[in-house]
């Protein structure tokens, strides 16, 4: 009988959540299709003016990414809560924060990473220059993990509440505003010929900050909701 190490447990939780998502692919696809649809609606609504579209591209993609990542948040812990797996997670002989981090990583791989990868294709609809597309992907890669991490705290706090789905969005969206500002700002800066380094550094700082605090806070919130 072998004991699992801390990283072994982290890997197990990520693998488990990815495996579960592969068994019900509809959930993953919903987020992605929602993102593509929302972004595609803007050129149709605003009209085909290249100058205007280029200007609003980064903002539209970021707002759509923000909304799309809210979609799967209520499901982050609710299934495990309903079938009792969450109880067993709390009884794991390792820190609950590590398990929560595993769930956050899996959530990001299923809802943040696909958005970042498909974003350049959507950017083309807005006639974004190649350099701006690269920065958009980079900014999304740095920013979407923060959305998953802050979202995990919101999902943990609203676990088991009626109407928790809407509540989590109301709770999390205001906290994501800095990510939106600096994420969209990075692309804006490149488009107007400046360097995006400062914006990207701040996004990176947000990510590290969230990485240190949010798993712990979400774990505490889960403990409270179990009582």
């Amino acid at each position: 009988m072998n004991r699992l190490s801390l990283f072994g447990l982290l890997g197990l939780v990520v693998r488990r959540d990815l495996l579960l998502a592969m068994r019900r692919r509809a959930d993953v696809l919903t987020t992605l299709i929602f993102f593509v649809m929302v972004v595609s609606l803007f050129p149709l609504g605003v009209g085909p003016e290249p100058e205007l579209l280029r200007k609003m591209a980064s903002g539209v993609v970021w707002v759509a990414a923000l909304l799309a990542s809210m979609l799967s948040l209520p499901r982050m812990f609710s299934a495990d809560h309903a079938d009792g797996t969450l109880e067993q997670m709390m009884l794991a002989p390792q820190s609950l924060s590590v398990l929560v981090l595993g769930k956050i990583v899996a959530h990001w791989m299923l809802s943040g990473l696909p958005l970042a990868l498909i974003a350049p294709v959507l950017g083309l609809q807005f006639d974004m220059p190649a350099q701006a597309l690269w920065i958009l992907v980079l900014a999304l890669l740095l920013g979407t993990p923060v959305l998953s991490m802050i979202g995990a705290v919101g999902a943990a706090l609203t676990l088991g509440l009626r109407g928790g789905g809407v509540l989590v969005s109301l709770l999390v969206l205001p906290l994501c505003i800095p990510v939106l500002i600096f994420g969209a700002g990075a692309v804006e800066a490149v488009s107007s010929g400046m360097s995006a380094v400062s914006n990207l550094s701040l996004l990176g700082a947000f990510m590290l900050f969230a990485l240190v605090f949010t798993p712990f806070v979400a774990a505490q919130a889960l403990r409270i909701s179990m009582e």
Partner: protein, 209 residues
């Protein structure tokens, strides 16, 4: 031979909402002992077991493991125990084998395919190992959840209604498993509304009223 108790409950009181469920509860459990918690619906059996796990904070009193409060034990206490609640903690989308390996992982072990299959066979789930749990019956799901007890080396089993949905054969099997666990120096505390007798072991009763 009487051994020193490992689990001690001192002057425990629990509330649910504003309702006092029980108070002044004292008992101790030594290796090889079996304890059944009895009481009417709503008398606080599940709350007591959840308090022992550390999910619920008692209003008063404390739970000690090896002489130390479980709050101070932190995660190490969890390695010594195995809890099975009302909920099976299994995923419909996964097969019985995958479920068992995942729950073993959450309990901190790696279970090889052979070990997991052997545990499932012991629980009477031959040829069901690779089926999604979705297609299994309630009793079979309970068996998948119970197979977790066979993997790992937890000293203390805390079982909340382990016999729910089980047939006569499975109840017999559970009696056998608990008997083996106790003879290896384990302890079991459980609730049930069905009779459960383990050969050669005196079941201690704890009545909540």
């Amino acid at each position: 031979m009487q051994q020193a108790p490992l689990l001690e409950v001192k002057d425990l009181a629990c509330e649910r909402g504003d309702h006092r469920l029980f108070s002044g509860l004292n008992f101790a459990l030594a290796p090889g002992e079996l304890m059944q918690v009895q009481g009417a619906n709503g008398s606080g059996k599940t709350t007591l077991l959840r308090t022992l796990c550390g999910f619920v904070q008692p209003v008063q009193g404390s739970v000690h493991w090896c002489g130390q409060d479980i709050g101070e034990w932190d995660d190490d206490f969890h390695a010594e125990m195995c809890y099975l609640g009302h909920l099976n903690a299994i995923k419909d989308e996964l097969s019985a084998l995958e479920n068992l390996q995942m729950s073993a992982g959450l309990a901190g072990y790696t279970a090889s395919d052979q070990q997991a299959v052997a545990a499932l066979r012991r629980m009477g789930l031959q040829r069901r190992e690779h089926l999604p749990v979705r297609v299994l019956s309630q009793g079979q799901r309970r068996r998948v959840a119970l197979a977790r007890l066979l993997i790992g080396d937890a000293h203390l089993w805390i079982l909340d209604e382990p016999l729910t949905a089980l047939d006569v054969g499975a109840v017999g099997l559970m009696q056998e498993l608990i008997g083996e666990h106790l003879s290896k120096g384990g302890m079991t505390i459980f609730t049930t509304h069905q009779p459960l007798q383990v050969a050669g072991v005196q079941t201690r009763l704890l009545v909540l009223s």
